[in-house]
């Protein structure tokens, strides 16, 4: 009997059995639910990656990947997104300390870097369409524009979400509800950066090797 009690108290530091602890905190439940959403979002991207992997070589005598992509341009885009992921982390630290001014500052830097990324991506798309390499040119380009465009759409939605969160910090203050939403936003933003690692490796660098 004694040993059983020992095992229970070892697994649960305060000695309260799992069945008597009641529901988990809202922060944990919300975070886990959003984590599940992010994983399902990544599965959507996996389907688009699969399409690109299958169709990447089907250029229909049009321009191929290596002729179209500029590596320095992609490196710049990658730097923007990576830096914005870091500043998003800084924003989370400021939020947890309930420092409104710092939160606004880091959110602004995050949003500016995100917008810079979108501008770079948009200019690349425009350049490609002017070259006659639009999404209708070949199966390769259709899958390219779908994959990279979906990622860009997610970044756009993320920036809009960030703006809304800052408005909520301004009007509602750091309520638990608002802080939970900011946590979800930071998860979303970091997940987008993880998807971008796949994009620049498979789409851009994969073209050179």
């Amino acid at each position: 009997m004694n040993t059983i009690v020992d095992v229970v108290s070892e697994e649960t530091p305060t000695g309260v059995p799992l069945s008597e602890r009641g529901p988990a905190q809202a922060r944990v439940v919300t975070g886990f639910g959003f984590w599940l959403f992010l994983l399902s979002d990544i599965i959507i991207f996996s389907a688009l990656f699969a399409a690109y992997a299958v169709l990447g070589g089907q250029t229909n005598d049009g321009p191929s990947a290596i002729e179209l992509f500029d590596k320095r341009h992609v490196l710049l885009e990658t730097s923007c997104l990576l830096a914005s992921s870091f500043t998003c982390g800084m924003m989370m630290i400021a939020t947890d300390r309930r420092e409104a001014a710092l939160t606004y500052c880091w959110a602004l830097v995050t949003a500016v870097l995100g917008i810079l990324f979108l501008c770079l991506e948009f200019s690349e798309f425009v350049h490609m369409v002017h070259q006659g390499a639009g999404p209708t040119r070949s199966a390769f380009l259709s899958s390219f524009f779908t994959l990279v465009g979906t990622h860009g759409a997610h970044v756009t939605a993320g920036i809009a979400w960030l703006a809304i969160m800052m408005a909520q910090v301004g009007t509602l203050g750091f309520r638990p509800m608002v802080v939970r939403r900011i946590l979800c936003f930071s998860l979303f933003w970091h997940a987008l950066d993880i998807v971008w690692i796949g994009v620049f490796t498979v789409v851009y660098l994969g073209a050179y090797s």
Partner: protein
């Protein structure tokens, strides 16, 4: 009742760090490693330093390593007992992702392999 108030968390939300103090350190280490891995994969993609056919494998390894760095240092996913749920969900997500990507690639390459060359296919159409 006091015991209930002091209950330490048995579940942890992804993205939330256990203690507030070392978060800055975690993000900084993560950024440093991510910059290194990104630079390495951009350098590796066009280097003559590495044996040509092995470059895609090297890129894949660097990308997976960087995704791991982001998960651990930015999303704070750990293998600790309090984030078992997060890890299990992640494992299932990785499983489905792998199934979709590699499954599609195997199926389509098999179909390509079994396909009749286009010129022969055209011949058949004209003979009919």
């Amino acid at each position: 009742m006091n015991a209930h108030a002091e209950v330490t968390e048995t579940d942890r939300a992804p993205g939330s760090h256990r203690s507030g103090g070392d978060r800055l350190k975690s993000y900084t280490i993560g950024l440093g490693l991510a910059v290194l891995l990104t630079a390495a994969s951009f350098a590796a993609s066009s280097s003559s330093f590495v044996w040509g056919p092995s470059i895609p494998v090297l890129l894949a390894v660097l990308a997976i390593a960087q995704m791991g760095v982001h998960l651990v240092f930015f999303l704070h996913i750990s293998t600790a007992a309090d984030s078992t749920n997060n890890i299990l969900a992640l494992a299932f997500g990785i499983f489905v992702t792998g199934l979709v990507i590699f499954g599609s690639m195997i199926i389509i390459s098999n179909l390509n392999h079994n396909m009749m060359p286009t010129d022969q296919l055209m011949d058949m159409h004209t003979q009919r």
